[in-house]
Amino acid sequence: MALPVGALPGSGARRSWVPWALLRLGGVAFVLWAVATVTFFAIRLIPGDPAEAILGGPGSQASAAAFAQARVDYGLDQPLFVQYLQYLGRMLRGELGTSYALKQPVIAIVGENLGGTLLLAVVSLIVAAAIALALAAWSARGGRVASGVGWLLEVVAAAIPHFWLAISLILLFSTTFGWFPPVSVPGPLGLVLPVLTLALPLSGFLAQVMRESILDAMASPFVLAARARGEGSGGVFWRHALRHAAIPAIGLAGWAFGSLISGAVVVETIFARPGLGRSLLSAVQQRDVPLVLGVVLVVALGYMLVTTLTDVADRLVDPRLRAS
């Protein structure tokens, strides 16, 4: 459809970004509420008496009085809708209840374990991005070796289960070479294998996306025009191609975060690292409802934060999006 020449987007004053920010915030709040509600009602679907789980699981020998007390303590005697409202209210105040199994406030448990998982996730993301960038840059220089390696890594990334990669890495570097400990120890040495396990598959995906984008950019007319102005290969890569490659990578960041959290569950378990992943797993195994709820909510909040951040980053890198 042809637009008249005068009405091009963006010409004239720049539109304020405040309405957009408010809309995003509203969206985030909505999703969080929905997540909390879905989790709440999903948990309530669990067959069996929650009081039983509180008092040590099925086959508990507790007396009827203890059951009754547990119900009152945890508000289980109220009608469902009241429980839901109480739950929402507590959430807004930041109280996530008390863990059935560990008998501690969920907030405290999450707080203790958050740091470890965050550290793992952030370091893995950085390492993955570095590998991906190096691989993509190498591919950009051309050459069949580079594109072959990139392709291989991307297939591997899509197909290797985290646990198998972890096992292989342990076998290789711990058992055989003895360079790194198989079980996590505090300090950077203990981070190496877990980070590698998470970073390698992720870097495969990122590399593929960036590589395609760089190749597209290098073949495009504006790169030809840049070369015709006297720009060398380095300048073309850093000033032009890189920015184009970043766009899809940033778009993947939200998904990458999710993948890292999923992977953390496995990696923390294998390497016996304290963290949200391991806590979540044991909570699921023990049907520790409040803890599951707490971790899921925190993760959802984190995920929403990451997606919002990537949206902002997207707009910074690709100014074309600012107009919409």
Partner: protein, 525 residues
């Protein structure tokens, strides 16, 4: 007397394929040489050879710019030449500028790479350059990105970037393609001014009219070779080579209605009719009428109070620049959009005011062909399936293919493996399969080479006479519209500024806008 550029026996190959061979020419300072050819002729590759940016293997007995031998130069030397001594203006400025960077940065790049100005100095020079090339409000424009600028402004920005270091040679590859007629005239004026100020220009184009305006000498290329060369005036007035002759003959501008543009025989035998163009008394039936059509998109008036009447067997041309509303009008006529007010009647019956279910039975009466034929085909269907679907059976497909000048074994192929001209023929075949009364042609030849364009236009002429079709022919190209139409509507910003028989409107235009359009249209001498 040494020429600025001297080329002898230039050849370029990509692997086994030789795309350019045996090219020789010289360019003097302040002279404009043009290379004319259609797509695939190798003209762009030849131009890029002077920059060392072909991407293929280059051999030449001489490939000299000033004192540098380009074939032997090191990458460093070439990088110094590019942007500083040789400026490159490429076509399609939307893709020639990095969509993520402000235009000002792109213009400042040659200054940064070859000059010694500070950042502030570069900024000032960029504004200066933008003013030089005629961009209003340069401070604002420099901070904008390419998609925020109109086509004409983008091209001017590209030119600014190319002349930043005042190069002695400018290579302009299709600098005015896809620009509106009036905008095109402005760009050509700018290039002429640069030439007068001392730059040598190597102009690459498929458009003979553009070339005749700027170049003193021209080379005609076809399939990698030069078939004819010489002073522009002489070549155009007295072409020697058959290819040059057919190229000149194919240009529709100034050619009378129903004259043939190609030398190929008519696809269908011409029936013994009264002279084309003269309406017979019993054929005056009105097949399509629009009455005060209006269509808005938000606050934009795309079509504003447009009325027309199309009679059987005649062609109504609609001409206008981008944004004039002609495509929206086509969509209203095809009932793909609902008008806000006004209506269209097809063969005397209401067309736009009725529900789709009532229209569906009559849809075969009106067909359409578009600028991009390929995207109008289902990518999974073969040509045969497309036509069989339109015919209602596979039986008539071979005959249909032949009637548009395609061989029957095209039926097994996929449209994306066909050339642009062949794709458009398939689209025409599909459109005429249900034996319609009216064909809406929305820029049907705008993306085709001149000689292919001539074939398609001749085909449309033949079909019109043998099938008694009426055409609604939409184009931005005045020459094409004038050649194809009996009556014409001139549109601008959604409304009709002038209308009437073609001869009257083009011969004695009343409205300022029409006069301006005609004046900006280039004619071959």
């Amino acid at each position: 007397m040494t020429a600025l550029v001297s080329v002898r026996d230039l050849s370029v190959s990509f692997g086994e394929t030789k795309v350019v061979s045996g090219i020789s020419f010289d360019i003097e300072p302040g002279q404009c040489i043009a290379i004319v050819g259609e797509s695939g002729s190798g003209k762009s590759v030849t131009a890029r050879a002077l920059l060392g940016l072909t991407g293929g293997t280059v051999t030449a007995s001489r490939l000299r710019f000033d004192t540098t031998d380009i074939a032997d130069a090191s990458p460093r030397q070439l990088q110094r030449l590019r942007g500083r001594d040789i400026g490159f203006i490429s076509q399609g400025a939307l893709v020639a500028l990095d969509p993520l960077r402000p235009v000002g940065r792109e213009i400042a790049d040659p200054l940064r790479l070859h000059g010694s100005l500070s950042a502030a100095g570069r900024q000032a020079r960029v504004l200066d350059l933008l003013t030089q090339v005629g961009v209003p409000d340069p401070a604002l424009r420099a901070s904008q990105r390419p998609d925020e600028l109109s086509g004409g402004l983008r091209q001017r920005a590209v030119i600014a970037s190319a002349i930043a270091m005042q190069p002695r040679l400018l290579i302009a590859d299709e600098p005015t393609t896809a620009l509106d007629t009036t905008v095109q005239a402005g760009i050509l004026d700018l290039l002429e001014r640069l030439r007068v100020e001392g730059a040598a220009i190597l102009l690459i184009s498929h458009d003979l009219a553009v070339v005749s305006r700027l170049a003193s000498h021209l080379l005609v290329m076809s399939t990698g070779r030069v078939v004819e060369s010489g002073p522009t005036q002489r070549v155009l007035a007295d072409p020697q080579h058959p290819y040059t002759r057919s190229l000149i003959a194919a240009v529709p501008t100034g050619r009378p209605r129903f004259s043939r543009l190609t030398s190929a025989p008519a696809a269908e035998p011409v029936p013994t009719d009264p002279a084309p163009g003269e309406p017979t008394s019993f054929e005056q039936r009105e097949v399509l009428a629009a009455d005060r059509l209006c269509k808005r998109f938000g606050s934009l008036r795309a079509v504003d109070d447009v009325s027309f009447s199309l009679k059987r067997g005649r062609t109504l041309g609609i001409v206008g620049e981008s944004g004039s509303g002609k495509t929206t009008l086509a969509r209203l006529v095809l009932a793909l959009e609902r008008p806000e007010s006004g209506d269209v009647s097809l063969l005397g019956e209401p067309w736009t005011d009725v529900p789709e279910s009532a229209r569906r039975a009559r849809r075969p009466r009106i067909g359409a062909i578009y600028q991009d034929a390929l995207s109008s085909f289902d990518p999974r269907w073969t040509v045969g399936r497309i036509l069989a679907d339109a015919l209602g059976g596979a039986a008539g497909v071979p005959v249909l293919l032949e009637s548009v000048g395609l061989s029957p074994d095209s039926a097994g192929r996929r449209p994306r493996h066909l050339s642009g001209g062949q794709q458009q023929r398939v689209a025409i075949a599909r459109a005429i399969a249900p034996r319609p009364d009216i064909l809406v042609c929305d820029e049907p030849v705008s993306s085709l080479d001149v000689s292919v364009q001539a074939q398609v236009l001749d085909l449309l002429d033949d079909l019109q006479r043998s099938l008694r079709l009426s055409y609604l022919f939409i184009s931005h190209d005045l020459g094409v519209v004038r050649h194809m139409s009996d009556d014409v509507l001139v549109m601008r910003d959604g409304h009709v500024v002038e209308s009437g028989p073609t001869g009257a409107v083009f011969g004695a235009p009343q409205h300022e806008y029409t006069k301006g359009l005609i004046a900006a249209t280039l004619q071959l001498p």
